[in-house]
Symmetry: C2
Subunit: 327 residues, 2 copies
């Protein structure tokens, strides 16, 4: 349990991911080369489909975390490059399967792979990338990294099934919501950072600390996006934390409104404006941001046990950046 | 290169899988317990959906091979039980994804999971089982077993994509056909047997030999089924080895027939009978059986280097059983 330091800094320069990006750039060139090399196959459809998603402008924050924590912990060999690539492949495989499950047509503003090549190819290429990810982990020879990432793979899939079971269910509790987010997204962020420390052979206490950092990084970033795109989420019937809070704090009549619009998917023109009014009335955005801030505080405490270094500073600033996005 | 011993034995008692089943029964009780325990989750849909397929009467030949080869190689601990369970989970995950890709309604005479719970749940529970499989491999601490099985996972997925790219293509060569079969099915059989030897820490030469045994086991069994269910395969437009041989040996007119019926899926009532006539005319069933026999011979040679034991006898008889099924 760390001491929670209140987040203040509105009159300082805006926090940014740039230091993290700059510090990891040499390693990330190698990661990007490995991504291309490992998505190759004599079966042409595989690099074609995988390349579409790989080149679609994702920020590669997960492999960046692996690289940064490995360097912060003094990694010398290039094993962390393989692990970072494996982490990105796990993420890519999840996105491919996600788009099939959600029947998504767009991702990062581009047509999804399933829309171009079909659901079948997306499922199978996802499986292929997952297999390649495990092959790379094995090549590093780190059973501990394999343990962390195979566990993350199972947790992610479990979270996806949980979300599928609970989709459009307005009676979702904050706890259940946090479990889905934790499993679906935070699990891989945590694992990405943890294996960076593992491959640099640092003590387990520091590894656990890093897990918290990245729970926070993800949670706060995610919340920020949710707050801003509430219109899209509403139209898609997604149960976000602001909705969870508003629903539980509302009257029976208000709950009927949420049931009609999100569970039954029955929406009229004015519903979005009313939804936003309810969210505001129950202070749900502010409280969501408050939670992001709380996790940011825990993250910075977790990093405090590491000796000062450029990588540590960059990670601290990345935490601030994510929290700041929520405002 | 082993000496090929011709297969004869029509006047002996029929070969059977019973000795293999009897010898592995104690270990298989543990495998079955582990399967139930590891398919568990607090997300109810997971054990529900996984259990449907797990309890649908598969023969569990793959984990049986892992157990048999481990025992033949003198395994003492129970690590091979974990690996056998992981192998079965990899197989189950593949079936779940396969049924989604093939849009299958029936498997082993029962409704497929995707028909009951939907494609989405089938994809995700498959992912979950794959994650659990890797967790179990990690628990055994054998990087070599992890290497073999993660490689198999990538090869299987690659084979599935290749099949998807080539489906309904009558110009498939025997070589391409063998590559799909090799990747889709033989890869896991090979890996299942190989990890049995690995976990018992036997020399690499024996492990490679076992790989051949199981390529053969699968190939011959698979061919047998294909020969017998050619009607179903024909209606589904599947390119089997008898079709590959008949197509390549036929006239231009005959090839047009195959293109119309299998590529374009345009079939009339009498087409199946004509198809069977063509297959017979070009001796394609007999030559398919001949290939199964050839692989059976190689398999028995491969087993010859192991000292005599009950497990070795049971595996030899299993080879004969698979070849005999082709007649």
């Amino acid at each position: 349990m760390g001491v929670v330091i209140p987040f203040e800094g509105s009159d300082q320069k805006q926090p940014s991911l740039d230091p993290l990006i700059a510090l990891t750039s040499t390693d990330m060139v190698k990661v990007n080369e490995a991504i291309l090399a490992r998505a190759a196959s004599h079966v042409e459809l595989i690099p074609e489909l995988a390349g579409h998603l790989i080149n679609s402008g994702g920020k590669r924050i997960r492999p960046m975390l692996t690289v940064a924590t490995a360097r912060m912990c003094g990694a010398r060999s290039d094993a962390h490059v393989k692990l970072a690539t494996a982490v990105e492949f796990m993420h890519t495989a999840t996105l491919l399967h996600d788009d099939v499950v959600d029947e998504s047509d767009l991702r990062r503003g581009q047509k999804t792979a399933r829309l171009i090549w079909g659901n079948q190819a997306s499922v199978l290429v996802g499986d292929y990338l997952l297999g390649q990810a495990f092959k790379m982990m094995v090549e590093t020879g780190s059973l501990e990294a394999l343990r962390i990432l195979s566990n993350a793979a199972a947790v992610i899939a479990e979270g996806e099934v949980l979300q599928l079971s609970a989709s459009h269910d307005t009676s979702t509790t904050e706890d259940a919501y946090m479990r889905v987010i934790g499993a679906k997204t935070a699990a891989l962020f945590s694992a990405a950072a943890e294996v960076g420390a593992v491959i640099a052979a640092r003590p387990r206490g520091e590894q656990a600390a890093l897990q918290l950092v990245d729970d926070a990084l993800d949670y706060s970033g995610k919340q920020a996006l949710m707050g801003k795109s509430v219109g899209d989420d509403f139209r898609e019937g997604k149960i976000t934390l602001p909705v969870v809070l508003t629903y539980r704090r509302g009257s029976q009549e208000e709950r009927n409104f949420w049931k009609r619009t999100l569970e039954d998917g029955n929406q009229t023109a004015d519903d979005l404006i009313y939804a936003q009014k309810l969210v505001e009335r129950h202070n749900a955005i502010a409280d969501t941001v408050e939670r992001a801030r709380h996790y940011g505080d825990i993250a910075r405490d977790a990093l405090a046990i590491f000796p000062d270094s450029a990588h540590k500073s960059a990670l601290l600033e990345a935490v601030d950046f994510c929290v700041a996005r929520a405002y």
